[in-house]
Symmetry: none
Subunit: 128 residues, 4 copies
DNA sequence: GTGGTCTAGACCACC
DNA sequence: GTGGTCTAGACCACA
């Protein structure tokens, strides 16, 4: 497991997003055990406190739950996971549309740009 | 003039984006005069240092130029403006596609989601 | 037998409190046999080590005594039980009064709030 | 400003409670500036990270708000403060009543015990 | 073994 | 000056 860190976003947020992605796409299933703080920290070559912070935030969002002395687990409430997915998608989408509008793009232009871009990347394949 | 500030992004970046938006959409045209630091700072109720920083960055990107003793002006090179617009659009778009892919959405799903979202917002209100 | 565990307090403390409650209210009488570690652990779905720890602490407080090869029993000294009850009540009460004072409540307000709250709960349901 | 720390509760929680108390009792008013991380840390002789943690939690509860580079302030929404006060009082009260019931005390006994205890402390004065 | 907290100290971005 | 993040390393309680 590796994550390419982007310097502009706190590491703990990037790990959060990564883990949320794993859950939302079903790679981590409800009830699955999550790597321990120490394990993940050594995997990612970062400080355990940073991982701790990540998990603390995930727990606050009720995506993850702690069983004392036994580790952390993906929430077993599937509904919660669906909600998270929708929230994240809405967030990404809204941010995008607002960005495009600020640049002067209108409805159809935006859709067209996306369609074209999606096409390109499918053709190229590669950096997904 | 008001901007809703997002706590997660530096204010000076948000003002930069706002001004770039004004330029790119033609509300500020090549060669137009830009408000002074003091004026903008008092308009937006923020620290003049922050506005200063904004302009400094805009100058570094050669979107704005200073004429000594006469204030700051939008660059008169229209090509530069087009370039900026393309860069910004590509950035917004790429970030979006990457985000959706991380959530498990595939090509056509993404286009569909955008189309639907654009429809909604057009129906609700028309503030571009 | 079920206990709703509160995540902020060690489980063994919560079980201790539960058992002390049973003793102090007379549901477990002086000299009564107490369930074995294994039995209680499987009842409560927790680690036997945790139950062991509970009993160990109860013994330290001389509320429970071990008879070799025969299991554990509630102390037969009734005076000890009364003492425990008083200590626990004083503790709960002091903590409460201190808490209310920190919130700016004065003497009579506190009594009134308790009176009202007790009334409510009696009306709603009767699970003591 | 001094706080006597209790070893059984995390320091950052104790500071949270202390500050909430100050706000709820009106010693810190809506919009008031809160001491900086470094200042409070040196006052209380604890690590700045611990204070940071305190403020982070208070911010999550929207009791406190950060103005970038300018420090932290008590929320100016008075309604929020009233809500907090009620929540805290309810919490303290419920915990108390539950505790007393577990010890076998019934409605009127509880009220009486409180009335007596409040009387005592008023008479003694002192360790409040 | 697990997570939770705390200290010490550093660096950075922002205002 | 302010807060935000990260590292390093320690200690403790819990299961």
């Amino acid at each position: 497991m590796t994550i390419e860190f982007d310097n502009n976003l706190p590491i703990y947020i990037q790990i959060m997003n990564y883990i949320k992605g794993e859950i939302v796409t079903g790679k981590l299933k409800p009830g699955d055990k999550i790597p321990s703080v120490r394990e993940l920290a050594s995997d990612l070559q970062i400080n355990p406190n940073t991982v701790q912070r990540t998990f603390q935030e995930l727990e606050r969002e009720t995506i993850v739950e702690t069983r004392r002395g036994m580790g952390r687990y993906v929430t077993s409430e599937e509904g919660r996971i669906m909600t998270i997915k929708k929230e994240m998608a809405k967030d990404v989408l809204d941010r995008f549309i607002r960005g495009m509008r600020e640049l002067g793009f209108q409805g159809e232009d935006i859709v067209a740009a996306v369609a074209e871009s999606v096409g390109h990347e499918d053709a190229e394949k590669g950096d997904v």
